[in-house]
């Protein structure tokens, strides 16, 4: 009897939560989602100094996985997930003055990050502080987002958040390889004590 009442009440609370949750979802101004179907056309470079970096279309098909003869590939050219920049492409943009956005955890960023990168994971982008920081970036500049690489999808989240921020950024790219790969390749890294190590490849 007692257990029965409790179970009924548990179901009632979950049901009420679901109803209120659905109601909440219907009234939010910005729909929650991951923008899989959102097509954001990669805007062509306007002939400025940015080198031509071929950014493939985002497709589900995986172009041949990693080739088996991997040792022959320069670490800078190891392809990441399809549609994302290799280290070499990312560094070319870095060299041209693209803004780098770090989408990792605060502790990881504090420890070390790509020299000059901004700490702007998705959650922060949606905050007042993040929006203020984003506002300072010229909207026509290239933004390169990175996280720990591999399965990390923080970059995707940050990209979506920047797109939704309404500042009209036209060229947002994701570095397919992670920060560790960048640091491992000897590219510029800023440490907690402010020192910068690494140089161009």
């Amino acid at each position: 009897m007692h257990i029965c009442t409790t179970t009924t009440r548990v179901c009632a609370i979950i049901g009420l939560g679901a109803i209120v949750g659905v109601g909440h979802a219907l009234i939010v101004r910005v729909p929650v989602g991951f923008g899989h179907k959102a097509i954001v056309a990669p805007v062509e470079n306007t002939g400025t100094a940015i080198p031509v970096v071929h950014v493939p279309e985002l497709t589900n098909e995986d172009p041949g996985e990693n080739p088996t003869e991997a040792p022959a590939i320069d670490p800078l050219d190891i392809p990441g997930p399809p549609g994302k920049l290799t280290l070499r492409e990312a560094y070319a943009l870095y060299d041209e003055g693209a803004y780098f956005v770090d989408a990792r955890h605060q502790e990881e960023f504090d420890e070390s990050h790509i020299a000059g990168a901004l700490f702007l994971p998705a959650q922060r982008i949606r905050s007042k502080a993040g929006l203020d920081e984003l506002e300072m970036i010229p909207p026509d500049i290239t933004i390169v987002i990175y996280c720990v690489g591999g399965e990390c999808d923080a970059s995707e989240n940050a990209k979506l958040a920047i797109e939704r921020s309404g500042f009209g950024f036209t060229d947002i790219r994701i570095m397919g390889r992670g920060f560790e790969d960048w640091a491992g390749a000897g590219l510029p890294v800023e440490h907690a004590d402010g020192t910068i190590t690494g140089d161009q490849p």
Partner: protein
């Protein structure tokens, strides 16, 4: 013996109820302030396939904080205490399972987003054993409240006194009717 129930209520049930309820309300409040982040956190846990079940993640992102909020408020009020505590226990077990899933799979790096931006219990935002232990610590009072109910200061006790003052059908009611017999609850 009867005094012990008062002591238990004031020293254990009341503070645990309000504390646990408060924590859950805070957790819900921070998540509801940024549902998109919470949805991304659920996606980051990689328990649900985002390609095919995006709607499920979005549904969970809206529903879970509200269930937390309702359970938290009920716990604070001491209304339906056992049910509220049972929900909290279930959610904690669920959270721990999800955390373990991330911890044991090295390829996943996820944000806990347990309390949104707020850090509680000295855990970092990155998923680790800290959060599992924190959930375990919260699970103890939750299970205790399922077992013992809300105590004397809960609305449950007040309501059961009104509806069944003399028939001792539930432990709360039995206790209350004993108090009523004594005149302890009259006022």
């Amino acid at each position: 013996m009867k005094m012990n129930k008062w002591v238990e209520s004031s020293l254990l049930q009341f503070p645990l109820r309000v504390g646990l309820g408060g924590i859950f309300c805070l957790a819900a409040y921070t998540k509801l302030g940024d549902v998109q982040s919470f949805a991304e956190a659920i996606k980051g846990f990689q328990v649900v396939d985002v390609e095919n079940y995006e709607h499920l993640i979005v549904f969970g992102a809206f529903t879970m904080p509200w269930v937390e909020m309702i359970a938290g408020v009920l716990l604070i009020l001491g209304l339906w205490t056992r049910a509220g505590a049972a929900i909290v226990s279930l959610m904690l077990v669920l959270f721990m399972a999800a955390l373990m899933h991330v911890i044991f799979d090295d390829s996943i790096s996820a944000d806990c987003s347990c309390f949104g931006d707020v850090k509680i219990g000295g855990c970092s935002s990155k998923v680790g054993w800290c959060q599992v232990i924190r959930d375990l610590v919260m699970l103890v009072p939750a299970v205790y409240l399922v077992w013992r109910g809300g105590g004397v200061f809960a609305l449950d006790a007040l309501l059961s006194r009104k509806t069944a003052p003399l028939k001792a059908q539930t432990p709360d009611a039995q206790f209350v009717s004993e108090q009523v017999d004594e005149g302890g609850f009259r006022g």
